[in-house]
């Protein structure tokens, strides 16, 4: 909502005339729903900072949040949202800190005395504060989304360890849902581990993948092909009987990729291959 120039001026006026009283009341109302999870001092510091910024933005001719004049105010509200999102507050708890200004303005203006002109001003200011509050709400939602994305990326890294099982053998035990994003991480990490360790064998263990459908199979097949291009041989393990039956009925063909019921079976298979490789190398010498 855009204020007109006089409404902006009168808002600026009351903010400086009643600066301390408004600050005190704003801080009180804002702190109430936070129930001590954020110290009153901290929340008071934030509302005071907002008040100062509002003051100076109004002085610079900001009559709404839009455009260059509202930039600093937007930045501050975004920062507030980000802090609160990180601290685990809800969107409404955060927006309430802004809406609290309305109570402070009402009580400290002649609107509280029922004067018509003052009430008209108050309605306009109130809509302006609504705009600030809604902006905060949206900024909060964006910040939350960012945090969630970051966390799931971190989780993804953590939940796809590539371990060196044996000299010449790396393994990726997959746990959980293998969606496209995770499949990508798995493939990159496995290929990197093959390079780092110089291993000729890799075991992809899907014991912990609850549902093996064509998408999972497709990702596993692509990973195996990529490893082959780097000269490494893959074994897929952890194919439980019910999954084996389902894969066959689906019509998925693992071709010449060795598959084993358990990780232990796969390791045994690889160790045999390693010693056969060693014997062959000796003969060649």
């Amino acid at each position: 909502m855009t204020l007109n120039a006089e409404q902006g001026e009168r808002l600026s006026e009351i903010l400086s005339l009643r600066s301390d009283k408004i600050a005190k009341r704003w801080a009180e109302v804002a702190a109430a729903p936070l129930k001590g999870r954020l110290s009153a001092a901290e929340s008071g510091r934030q509302t005071a900072e907002l008040q100062q910024q509002l003051q100076s933005s109004l002085k610079n001719g900001a009559l709404s949040l839009d455009g260059a004049a509202g930039a600093e105010l937007r930045a501050l509200l975004t920062e507030l949202s980000r802090d609160r999102a990180r601290q685990g507050f809800t969107a409404s708890e955060t927006a309430t800190s802004v809406f609290a200004l309305k109570t402070a303005l009402y009580e400290n203006s002649d609107a509280a005395k029922g004067k018509a002109e003052a009430l008209r001003d108050y309605v306009a200011w109130s809509e302006f504060v609504d705009e600030l509050g809604l902006f905060t709400f949206e900024a909060f939602a964006r910040a939350r989304e960012q945090i969630i994305t970051q966390q799931s990326e971190q989780l993804m890294e953590l939940s796809t360890p590539v371990v060196k099982l044996w000299e010449g053998v790396v393994a990726v035990p997959l746990v959980g849902t293998l969606d496209s994003a995770r499949a990508q991480v798995v493939m990159e990490r496995l290929l990197q581990a093959l390079v780092d360790t110089g291993s000729p064998y890799a075991i992809i263990d899907i014991t912990g993948v609850p549902s093996v459908d064509t998408q999972v199979a497709h990702h596993v097949l692509k990973t195996v092909m990529a490893a082959r291009l780097m000269g490494a041989e893959c074994i897929v393990s952890g194919i439980r009987p019910q999954i084996a039956q389902t894969i066959v009925t689906l019509g998925i063909d693992f071709g010449d990729i060795p598959t084993k019921a358990s990780l232990a079976d796969a390791l045994r298979h690889v160790i045999k291959r390693l010693s056969a490789d060693a014997r062959a190398a000796k003969r060649e010498q």
Binding site: D179, S211, D213, T214, Q215, Q242, T246, T249, L250, G251
Partner: protein
């Protein structure tokens, strides 16, 4: 006659997470219907395929999961529906290995093999509905 036991569960399918939720609902219904572990896995996998098709090709939609009873046996029934582009050539879409999107092309045909009942209704420009049922043995 086939009757629905308890309340059918509706699940919107608009994201990858929803595909996971459909799988979980179907798994729970399959356990309720006392399906064997193999049959549970089969119907969950079929549901996973059809839910992903609803998302990817149907542009999103929904799944309705219920436990059913035909007097002799219990089973799981899942109905997938979307308002997407529909399937112009159903026979082609049901051909093993056919994909228009770089997949394995085994989802639709494989899902049909994994269940006992498979009804596909589709109209170009209107959308696709697929109902599957898996019965306990």
């Amino acid at each position: 006659m086939t009757t629905v036991v308890g309340a059918a569960q509706l699940q919107a399918i608009v994201s990858d997470e929803d595909v996971v939720r459909v799988r979980q609902l179907v798994r729970t219904a399959a356990v309720t219907a006392k399906l064997s572990l193999v049959d549970q896995t089969k119907v969950v996998t079929a549901a996973s395929e059809l839910a992903r098709n609803t998302l990817v090709y149907g542009g999103g939609g929904q799944a309705e999961v219920s436990t059913v009873d035909n007097g002799a046996r219990r089973g799981v029934r899942v109905v997938f529906s979307d308002d997407g582009p529909g399937i112009a050539d159903v026979e082609l879409a049901l051909t093993d290995g056919y994909t228009s999107g770089g997949g394995l092309g085994l989802g639709l045909s494989g899902a049909r093999r994994l269940v006992e009942e498979f009804e596909l209704n589709t109209e170009v420009g209107t959308g696709t509905t697929i109902a599957i049922t898996k019965w306990a043995r």
